[in-house]
C-alpha cells in the first residue's frame, strides 16, 4: 500500500520520528471512553477500488490527532454547546423548538450514521441538513438555516455527537440506488481545467503529498469537521465545493441534488468507519 511505503521510506530517511507524520498504528479514543474505528475493511461495493478504508484522522499530525481525543481540546465542541442552546430555543411561527418534538437531543442517537437517507414521503434522498431545514420550515415555521452556515454545521455536529463511535451505515440499495449510482458516476468523472476526478486524488493517491499536506481518502465520517485553517465547523458540501473549485471547474451549489448524490456515495465509501463528528483536521 502506498501510504505504508511512504512512511517506511520517510522513517529510513529521518531517524527521529517525523514531525507532522501521522502515527499509523495510533488508535482514536475520545475522552478515554469512545473507541473509534479509523481503519477497517472496505465495504463490498469498493472491491477492487480500495483494500481498506481509513478515516482522515489517520492522515493528520500527532498534535492534530490529539486535539480530537479530548472534548476539551476539540474546539468543535464549542459549536456543539451553541447548538444545544439552539435545540432548546423555540423559533418560528409555531413557537416550537427542536426539543418540543424530539425531546432530549439524545433521541438523535444513530441518526447521523445512516444519513443521507431515502425519505419515503418526499420521494428523495435527504441529507441531515435538508432534514433539519425541513423541520425548521414545516414544523417550526422558522427560516431555514443557510446550507453550509455556522448554525447548520453546529446543529449537524450536535446531532452527530449523539452517534459518535457508531459505524457509518448508509443504505445504497432500494430506492436510494439511483441517487447512489449518480454519486458514483460523479466521483469518477474528471472535472475542471485540471481534469481531476475525486478518485484521482482520494483513491489513487491517498497518503501522498498534495503541496504541503497529506491526501486522505476523502472520507466524510468526521463531518462536520473543525478545520484549523478557518477555525470553524465545515460541512461536507462546502468541502466538495472547495475540491471541485480546486480542479478549476464551475462547482455545484451546496445542497444541490448533485452534491446530495455525491454525499450519499462518499458516505457509503466510509460504511464501517465510526461517526467522528465534530472531528479536527487541518
Amino acid at each position: 500500500m502506498k501510504f505504508k511505503a511512504m512512511t517506511a521510506v520517510a522513517a529510513l530517511l529521518v531517524a527521529a520520528p517525523m514531525l507532522g507524520m501521522a502515527d499509523e498504528e495510533a488508535e482514536l479514543v475520545v475522552n478515554g471512553e469512545i473507541k473509534m474505528v479509523t481503519k477497517t475493511d472496505a465495504p463490498a461495493h469498493l472491491e477492487g477500488a480500495l483494500p481498506e478504508i481509513m478515516s482522515g484522522w489517520r492522515f493528520r499530525s500527532d498534535e492534530t490527532q490529539q486535539t480530537q481525543m479530548d472534548d476539551f481540546d476539540n474546539p468543535g465542541m464549542i459549536f456543539v454547546d451553541q447548538a444545544q442552546a439552539a435545540w432548546d430555543t423555540a423559533e418560528g411561527s409555531e413557537g416550537k423548538s427542536c426539543a418540543s418534538c424530539h425531546n432530549d437531543v439524545e433521541s438523535m442517537e444513530g441518526v447521523r450514521a445512516v444519513y443521507p437517507k431515502w425519505n419515503e414521503e418526499a420521494g428523495e434522498v435527504r441529507t441531515l441538513a435538508m432534514q433539519i431545514n425541513d423541520c425548521r420550515e414545516n414544523q417550526m415555521g422558522a427560516e431555514p438555516y443557510k446550507y453550509t452556515g455556522n448554525e447548520m454545521t453546529a446543529m449537524e455536529a450536535l446531532i452527530s455527537v449523539q452517534s459518535r463511535g457508531m459505524p457509518v451505515n448508509v443504505a445504497i440499495d432500494g430506492p436510494a440506488q439511483s441517487t447512489w449510482e449518480q454519486g458514483k458516476e460523479m466521483y469518477y468523472t474528471r472535472y475542471g481545467q485540471l481534469e481531476l476526478s475525486c478518485a484521482n486524488c482520494h483513491e489513487d493517491n491517498y497518503g501522498n503529498m498534495i503541496r504541503a499536506d497529506h491526501l486522505s481518502q476523502g472520507q466524510i465520517n468526521g463531518f462536520p469537521v473543525y478545520r484549523l485553517k478557518n477555525t470553524k465547523l465545515n460541512s461536507s458540501h462546502a468541502r466538495f465545493k472547495g475540491c471541485i473549485r480546486d480542479t478549476r471547474a464551475e462547482t455545484f451549489s451546496p445542497g444541490s441534488p448533485e452534491f446530495v448524490a455525491l454525499e450519499l456515495y462518499v458516505a457509503s465509501r466510509g460504511n464501517g468507519l465510526s461517526v467522528e463528528a465534530p472531528s479536527v483536521r487541518n
Binding site: D70, F72, P75, I78, D81, Q82, A85
Partner: protein, 109 residues
C-alpha cells in the same frame, strides 16, 4: 451582555490523597476587547471575563486576572494537589457583573 456563555469543567471524579490532578476549564465567551469598531465606525464596547478563580474547600487554588488581549473562549488547564475529598469551585467574573459558577466534587480512593 454576552450571550451563550457556558462554562465547562473537567475534573477527575476521584484521586489518591496527595495526588496531583489536571483540571481543564473552558468558558465560551466572545471576549470583546473594546478595541474593535463595527461597520459604522462605532467602538464595540469591551465585554470580557476579567477574573477567574478556582477554590478547593474554600482554599484558593488559582486566581487569574484577565485583560482584553485574551482570545475568545478562554481555556485554562492547571494542576492541583488533592489532599482530601471535597469540592472544587470555579468562578468566572464578567465585565457586565454576571458571575458564572461551577462546582465539581472529587472523592478519595
Amino acid at each position: 451582555m454576552a450571550e451563550g456563555v457556558t462554562p465547562r469543567v473537567k475534573v477527575p471524579k476521584k484521586a489518591e490523597a496527595g495526588e496531583v490532578i489536571t483540571i481543564k476549564t473552558l468558558i465560551s465567551h466572545p471576549m470583546e476587547s473594546g478595541q474593535r469598531k463595527d461597520g459604522d465606525g462605532n467602538v464595540i464596547p469591551r465585554s470580557i471575563i476579567n477574573r477567574f478563580t478556582a477554590e478547593f474547600n474554600g482554599e484558593s487554588v488559582i486566581d487569574v486576572k484577565m485583560e482584553p488581549a485574551m482570545s475568545t473562549n478562554p481555556y485554562f488547564e492547571f494542576d492541583a494537589t488533592v489532599p482530601e475529598a471535597g469540592d472544587f469551585k470555579f468562578t468566572w467574573y464578567d465585565d457586565d457583573g454576571s458571575v458564572y459558577e461551577e462546582v465539581k466534587s472529587i472523592a478519595i480512593g
